[in-house]
């Protein structure tokens, strides 16, 4: 089985590659790249005018299966991922039952192996039932294939429990990912605390709710030596604290979602639940700090926090609507628009944030190595157009859910072909 991708602009930030050439995938793995490669018998893709990048990796998605199949399934969520150019996604454990055991981890992996065109890597819970009290079976989940632990959405409030979980995770060798939110400061809030939340009479989520937990977790990470990753960073203070932790050499990393760089509270349509997520959309000054953090390296990667919700659940009183929006299919378009076309960062840097950097956060090694176009790495490739205009129509989304504020938005550049293990799994219409 050979696949030859010809004449594309091959960009692999991890190996410093950026030039027009051919890329060969053989037996599911990257074989090599170069000029005018010959590969008799290979399938050929002509990538003229397109960018050929390592397969995108999203380390923060919600696939909703098991338990919430009315909103998304492993099959539909991974198809949306493929359509967005992602070849690996890491799914959060807030399913029903919660992925807090080797059994659920195995269920997800086995289901994905049957129905998913892309690679699905489960993230296990930190605590049993994500209830913040007893530790989940961290070692067992890791042995079954969990790549990290997180109580995403129901963060561990008890600092001692977090400390113990970090100690276990360090020994197991997986990172702890925290949705940093002090639930007592949030107190059931629905929107970032600002003039608009006050004027609209919505209960506030102060930036401090994130900041104090980022501070706590960095302190505990230093104490325990675990690799600690801040999920969906959204405030200027958090960015500053992560930068400080990195400066001190701590193994701390962070991610940002596309919506937190594209939107702030001023973009919200009042009481429209497609603008309701956690962390909430923040202020323009937070976006500035985040963009600064991206440029400086305080923020390592882009992750979507793809959070599908069934239409009925999002179609009610604002305070009753669940948090979250879908994001897999719009991630590349937004990243190009906000980061690259604006001139803030280079195209290779953006690609790194979607490939080698998330791979480093998780730490895939050996046979599992991915995120670069190096020989022997998984043969996962994302081919995209860096400029062509297209308009996102949420009604045509591959996801089962429709909760996106970006429907109708036109982007410059988007995914064209997604390749997993040397096999084409998705191709844009018209190509």
């Amino acid at each position: 089985m050979k696949l030859l991708i010809r004449n594309g602009r091959i960009i692999c930030p991890a190996s410093g590659l950026d030039g027009v050439g051919d890329l060969l995938i053989e037996d599911g793995r990257i074989a090599g790249s170069g000029q005018d490669l010959s590969a008799p018998g290979a399938d050929v893709i002509d990538a003229t005018g397109l960018v050929v990048a390592p397969g995108f990796i999203d380390i923060h998605v919600h696939l909703r299966e098991p338990g919430f199949e009315h909103a998304e399934t492993i099959a539909t969520g991974s198809r949306a991922a493929a359509a967005g150019g992602f070849t690996t996604v890491c799914c959060m454990p807030n399913t029903r039952p919660v992925n807090d055991s080797g059994m659920v981890t195995t269920y997800i992996l086995e289901t994905a192996s049957r129905v998913s065109p892309i690679r699905v890597c489960p993230i296990g819970a930190i605590t049993k039932g994500s209830e913040g009290e007893e530790l989940a079976s961290i070692g067992t989940m890791a042995a079954a294939g969990a790549v990290a632990i997180s109580d995403d959405g129901r963060p561990v409030m008890n600092s001692r429990v977090m400390r113990r979980a970090m100690e276990v995770a360090r020994e197991v060798g997986i990172p702890v990912i925290d949705h940093c939110e002090d639930l007592n400061l949030t107190a059931g809030g629905d929107m970032h605390e600002c003039v608009d939340s006050v004027n609209l009479g919505l209960r506030p989520i102060p930036s401090a709710a994130e900041d104090v937990m980022v501070a706590r977790d960095i302190i505990l990470a230093e104490m325990t030596g675990v690799r600690f990753h801040v999920a969906h960073i959204s405030t200027k203070n958090s960015v500053a604290m992560v930068a400080y932790a990195k400066q001190r050499g701590l193994p701390v990393t962070s991610e940002v979602t596309p919506h937190h760089i594209a939107l702030h509270t001023g973009h919200m349509k009042p009481y429209d639940s497609n603008y309701k997520m956690k962390p909430p959309l923040r202020c323009a000054t937070d976006i500035d700090a985040i963009l600064g953090g991206i440029a400086s390296g305080a923020i390592d990667c882009i992750a979507t926090d793809h959070a599908p919700h069934a239409g009925d659940d999002k179609f009610q009183e604002f305070e009753k609507c669940p948090f979250g929006i879908t994001g897999l299919e719009t991630a590349l378009g937004i990243s190009l628009e906000v980061l690259v076309h604006s001139g803030r960062i280079s195209l290779p840097k953006m690609i790194a944030m979607l490939t080698s950097e998330p791979a480093r956060v998780i730490g895939w090694k050996g046979e599992q190595a991915r995120g670069a176009l190096k020989p022997g790495y998984l043969g996962d490739v994302t081919i995209f157009h860096p400029e062509y205009p297209w308009t996102f129509d949420v009604t045509k989304s591959q996801s089962k859910s429709r909760n996106s504020p970006f429907s109708g938005r036109t982007f410059q550049g988007g995914p064209i072909i997604t390749i997993v293990g040397g096999t084409e799994v998705w191709r844009a219409q018209g190509y």
Binding site: V195, V198, L200, G201, Y271, F315, F318, E319
Partner: protein, 303 residues
């Protein structure tokens, strides 16, 4: 179909003036039975209250009846809402009965705004969560105008649980549009600093004596000290620092009036001496409630 009345904030000053003028025509002038008008005959007004209310709901019903409209009153307890029906389904069911308007109170901020995006029937917001209560602000303005003759340049102190008050927000927006100086006052946990910038002309005070100093209007808000989401404030502590007493009124202008949207908590945010004093406009406010709501219904139903 008429236009919804969802809040004061999006209204033009002229629209507000027009409603306040019409309300004057509908004020009670004593003596004998009130004539029943036929202006809105054959139109159905549904009042749909998901939160308890006596004065607002009865005020709307009386207003609708005086205009000759039919009324149907629905409260959340005993309705299909308590059987798990969604808000949208409840409204769609009512809309199928072809009301000319739905008067709605709901505990969630923005609930009527969300609904009005998805249905044609005009909605009159009778209070949404901690957001707006537009007819309260209109009747307050009518009351101030009756007594003081103007809004522009007046110093209006609004005192109490500003953070959770839809009355405060609607009044701030209305008074601001008319060029009043608005002083908001309350304990820091109940007075978010961002309130100072939701509209022009607002200042914040955390000392009640400074707030009432030279005030033309002192508007007290009902205080619920036990809120689910916030730590409780001791009642004695509250009254000591933020309860309005006769002594405070000596700091205000000689003609100053005291208002309260009701229901009042005597000895909590207002002393009985103040509540029952000549300065108290509490019952005038209730009376103006009917006149203002007639003007609002007329506008929404006949526009």
């Amino acid at each position: 179909m008429g236009k919804s009345l969802l809040g004061i904030e999006p209204l033009e000053r002229a629209e507000i003036e027009q409603m306040l003028d019409r309300a004057r025509a509908y004020q009670f002038h004593g003596g004998g039975p009130q004539p029943k008008l036929t202006l809105c005959a054959g139109r159905l007004v549904v009042t749909l209250f998901f939160e308890n209310s006596t004065r607002t709901r009865s005020s709307f019903e009386i207003a609708a009846k005086r205009l000759g409209a039919d009324t149907l009153s629905i409260t959340a307890s005993g309705s299909s809402v308590s059987k798990g029906e969604t808000l949208v389904d409840t409204l769609n069911t009512l809309v199928a009965m072809h009301p000319a308007a739905i008067v709605m109170r709901h505990a969630s901020s923005g609930a009527p705004h969300f609904l009005s995006r998805h249905m044609m029937t005009p909605i009159i917001n009778a209070g949404d969560g901690t957001h707006e209560h537009p007819t309260q602000a209109l009747l307050d303005a009518r009351t101030i105008l009756d007594r003081l003759g103007r809004l522009e340049g007046l110093r209006v102190a609004i005192i109490g649980d500003i953070a959770h008050s839809r009355v405060a927000r609607s009044n701030v927006h209305l008074l601001s549009k008319f060029g009043a100086d608005i002083v908001l006052c309350g304990p820091p946990p109940l007075l978010p600093p961002q309130m100072a910038v939701i509209a022009p002309g607002v200042t914040l005070e955390y000392d009640i004596r400074k707030a009432v100093k030279d005030a033309d209007v002192v508007m007290m808000l009902r205080v619920q000290l036990e809120r689910i989401h916030e730590p409780a404030i001791q009642a004695g502590e509250y009254f000591r620092f933020y309860g309005l007493r006769l002594g405070h009124l000596e700091l205000a202008r000689a003609h100053a009036i005291v208002m309260h949207p009701g229901p009042i908590n005597r000895g909590r945010e207002i002393s009985s001496e103040v509540a029952d004093s000549q300065r108290s406009m509490i019952l005038s406010q209730v009376e103006n409630g009917v006149a203002v709501r007639m003007a609002v219904l007329e506008k929404v139903l006949l526009q």
